[in-house]
């Protein structure tokens, strides 16, 4: 039997938060709506659904109190608030992983192929950048001052990668420049020894670009992707993981988002033995909007994990998170953890995050943990929803009773489910390629 766990944490740092069922998954629970006006949950067949919206009210004081005295040499776990997680370039600041850490508890450390213990000294996958002609691409040494200027590692593997990478790739979209094509960053691995990599994507003020990180081949890679979205810039970063079956990839993708900027981040994880992405969006000035999308499709034995953070540290920013995952086969495991932090200063925040998983066969397991921390009541809206559904015999019977053969029925469901995310990429050739990959995944599952 498949096991579906659904954990939900309502941090006790938001003690007055009122927890209610959420209505339609796609519907946003609005703060400021009169009490009782929130839609009640509507059960969807085959879906267990949970959601939460938080009411207005001053919920911030305790959080602030905590903040003031939680520095020092405190262990990384337990963390009182997601905002308090240790950030450091020094690997010694992160104790050796045991698997008990809050942020590693779902990751099978044994399958990291040494990323958390070894020197990461092998050669990193080759990076080749093609596409836009008016975007600057440089290969720079470790000492380049731009590196690490806007992102600090938040976990041990990320810190290890920071200390071990050789050259870095820096992609700069010049100020007020619209990239004249998609920037395709091909990352090709050719061996399984542990390595480290650093990529910096710097979208200067009022620039506009789409950057695709396309990971393929075999690798054991610890990676930091540092992203800067300048004031008024519009940047889309797509990270595609179509690794070979054996690959292990742990990637921190931190973005600093400037004033009135638009940032879209899309994760597509299909291939690899263990892929663990930690994308984060950190607002540094008001008026910005972030959309984070994810699509993952885990086959038998695959572990696909995504842990994201949206850090609303400043007023009047908006964020939307939509992750969708499909699972098939024995021991297919997916993890989604969505941390959204609305700090005291972040008045006028508008945020909503949702994660949906579709389990196609027995033996697969999906963990989904939305996590909303709110330190101020003066916000536009905040909500989250998480649903894990099964495509079961009754669904199959219904579709087949309408003449649709079994394989086509499964394809119909999965395609429909995942298309929403693929459509967000807006690079037609890539959308097509990924749609085909999803079809292949389905076919490979012998469904």
């Amino acid at each position: 039997m498949a096991e579906t766990t659904h954990t939900e944490s309502t941090p006790d740092t938001a003690p007055d938060a009122e927890v209610t069922d959420l209505g339609d998954l796609d519907e946003k629970a609005r703060l400021g709506a009169p009490a009782g006006a929130v839609d009640r949950s509507r059960a969807i067949d085959g879906f267990t659904e949970e959601g939460e919206s938080l009411s207005t009210g001053d919920t911030g004081s305790e959080q602030l109190g905590l903040k003031k005295h939680s520095h020092g040499n405190a262990p990384v776990i337990p963390e009182a608030s997601r905002g308090e997680r240790r950030r450091s370039f020094d690997i010694a600041d992160f104790p050796t992983l045991t698997g008990l850490e809050e942020d590693w508890r779902f990751t099978p450390l044994k399958r990291l192929r040494g990323l958390h213990t070894e020197a990461l000294s092998a050669s990193a996958p080759a990076v080749e950048v093609t596409g836009a002609g008016n975007v600057t691409v440089e290969t720079v040494g470790r000492d380049d001052v731009r590196l690490g200027a806007s992102a600090t590692p938040e976990d041990r593997v990320s810190a290890a990668a920071w200390n071990a990478f050789g050259d870095a790739t820096v992609i700069t979209v010049p100020q007020e420049t619209v990239a004249d094509g998609e920037v395709m960053v091909s990352v090709r691995g050719t061996h399984a020894e542990a390595s480290a990599q650093h990529i910096l994507i710097d979208a200067k003020a009022f620039s506009k670009a789409v950057v695709v990180l396309d990971h393929q081949g075999s690798a054991t890679l610890a990676q930091n992707v540092e992203i800067v979205v300048g004031d008024g810039a519009e940047l889309t970063v797509v990270s595609v993981q179509e690794w070979d079956d054996d690959a292990v990839h742990v990637s921190s993708q931190q973005a600093k988002v400037g004033r009135d900027a638009r940032y879209k981040h899309v994760v597509v994880s299909l291939g690899g033995d263990l892929v663990r992405l930690t994308p984060s969006s950190i607002f540094t000035a008001p008026g910005a909007e972030v959309e984070m999308y994810g699509l993952y499709f885990a086959d038998a034995g695959q572990h696909l994990e995504q842990r994201l953070l949206v850090d609303h540290a400043v007023p009047n920013c908006k964020s939307r998170v939509t992750y969708k995952g499909a699972l098939q086969g024995d021991d297919a495991h997916t993890v989604w953890v969505g941390d959204v932090l609305i700090r005291k200063a972040a008045e006028g925040t508008d945020t909503y995050e949702t994660n949906r998983n579709l389990i196609l066969t027995d033996g697969a397991r999906s963990d989904s943990v939305p996590n909303l921390e709110i330190e101020t009541g003066l916000i536009e809206g905040a909500g989250h929803a998480s649903a894990t559904g099964r495509f079961d015999d009754e669904h199959l019977f219904y579709l087949m009773a309408r003449g649709i053969p079994e394989k086509a029925a499964r394809r119909l469901v999965v395609r429909g489910f995942l298309t929403e995310v693929i459509q967000q990429i807006k690079v037609p050739a890539l959308e097509e390629r990924l749609s085909e990959s999803v079809e292949r995944e389905l076919a490979a599952g012998n469904l």
Partner: protein
């Protein structure tokens, strides 16, 4: 003209308590153009008969046969049965995550016909059928049955009936959960399709009220897994007046 023939059908299900026989020798023949009503108390096996015809994997056929124009239906997979012309309007249509109505209807139509419908005609047909059944146009973009009310689900079943044009339609308590207006709308849909003269109908119901709108040629009273009595429309009137007591009293209670 087509014939759906059910002969001495015995069906059981596997439960935690072991194998339980449900249908105990059902014999029934339906021809194109005929409407047969199957009426019976709760738990008498009406849905079991319907689901067995459609091929639901939960039910095991222990003996007997179902043929469609002489072809062995029992050896066909669920989708093959549908493509052979059998349609089951379900008592409890499931919600299918991730698939929009539009996409579902087109995919099913394509599978049933063996070719994609001409887009222009199809779109028009869907729109017209939806309007006739008073289904909001925006349902087309919603996921199959997801969040639909009980009545809406039933309308959508009949929508499919009208679009897919089966040889035989089995309507499993399509009337339950419908208010009077919806009952009329749904009945009109069935009658529209039936009046084309190319469909036979097996109408399963607990109550007689739908028979005011859909006129049966034959009425079969279903009790404890078999047909206890059959007759013309007058039998329905009799049931309306007397209820099922007469039949259930006769039948020894199963251990």
């Amino acid at each position: 003209m087509s014939t759906l023939e059910i002969k001495d059908l015995h069906v059981s299900i596997d439960t935690e308590q072991g194998n339980v026989p449900i249908l105990k020798g059902v014999t029934l023949t339906i021809n194109t153009g005929e409407t047969h009503a199957i009426m019976g108390p709760n738990g008498s096996g009406k849905s079991t008969l319907a689901s067995t015809i459609a091929g639901h994997p939960r039910y095991t056929v222990d003996s007997g046969s179902i043929t469609l124009d002489g072809e062995d239906v029992l050896s066909m997979s669920v989708d093959e049965r549908a493509r052979a012309g059998l349609f089951l309007a379900m008592q409890y249509p499931v919600e299918v995550p991730g698939v929009t109505m539009t996409n579902f209807l087109r995919t099913a139509k394509t599978a049933l016909d063996g070719e994609a419908p001409s887009l222009r005609h199809w779109t028009k047909d869907v729109k017209t059928a939806m309007a006739q059944l008073r289904i909001d146009a925006d349902f087309a973009q919603r996921n199959v049955n997801e969040g639909f009310s009980g009545g809406e689900k039933k309308r959508v079943e009949i929508l499919q009936l009208e679009l897919f044009r089966p040889k035989f339609a089995i309507l499993d308590e399509t009337d339950s959960g419908l208010d009077v207006d919806a009952l009329k709308v749904v009945s009109e849909g069935v009658n529209r399709e039936h009046s084309k003269g190319e469909m036979g109908t097996l109408l399963i119901t607990h109550y007689t009220r739908i028979l005011r709108y859909i006129k049966p040629d034959f009425v079969h009273v279903f009790v404890a897994g078999r047909i206890a009595e059959q007759g013309g429309p007058e039998l329905a009137d009799q049931l309306e007046a007397e209820g099922y007591d007469r039949f259930t009293a006769q039948t020894p209670v199963e251990a």
